[in-house]
Amino acid sequence: MLHQRLSVACSAEASNVVLNICYERDNVVRLVSAGGVPPLIAFAKDDSHEDLQANAAGAVQSICFQKEGRTFVRELGAIEAVLPLLG
């Protein structure tokens, strides 16, 4: 249980790092190429860990500041994933 909680904390913190580095276009391109976007969208859908969900949604927002990121995120179905968070 402790391990699981810490792993969630690590994923949440990793999402924060992604949020920051993806202010730069080159890093968005790198993240997309490395397969780093699908986990973030999955975290954003998961309402069992609020911090992780919020941080992941922030990272997705950061990715979407760049055109390449926006296109990729939309194609992965992220709009449907985050819409429930508004309600």
Partner: protein
Amino acid sequence: MSDRELQQLRELLASTPDCAVSRPAKLQIALQAFVSLNEDASRSPNYQSQARDDLNSVIKLLSSDAVKAHDQLLLYVLKMLKILSRKYDNRVRLGEHIVDDLVEVCPDPTPSHEPEPNRSLDEVYPSPNPNADPNTDPTLTVTRTLTPTLTVTVTVTPTLTLTLTPTPALTSTLTSSRCCTSG
């Protein structure tokens, strides 16, 4: 180098390169010192400093298998990266090095639809399982250990027969060894 804490971390890694394994508590204290001083961006000496940060230490830590296997260390390394990546110059330099490791420590929780490797087949099949980690996979270790000294015969009949025949050398080893269990 803008922070005394970054300097201390660099010195620790220089004097004890394997500190994530040999001195994890000391490493964690060094990481915590930097994080506690800088986590609040409005009070962060690192964020306010214009000096160029030495990022090599933290990049090495994130790529370390020992750190990835230690949740508390990994958590503090990630917090440190979050703090450092508030600055433009650091974002640019870090991005070149950490994206792959970030993706690795942030695995997709969505269940994979790829088939699981067939472990029982791997035990009798001599070719290595491409999905197995040769450093940690016990199945592969057992297979490698037994292959040179064990003959495996598989007979396909209405009821599958599997015969394992140890060579004399292995038989001798097995009969002279004591078997330990956790009981």
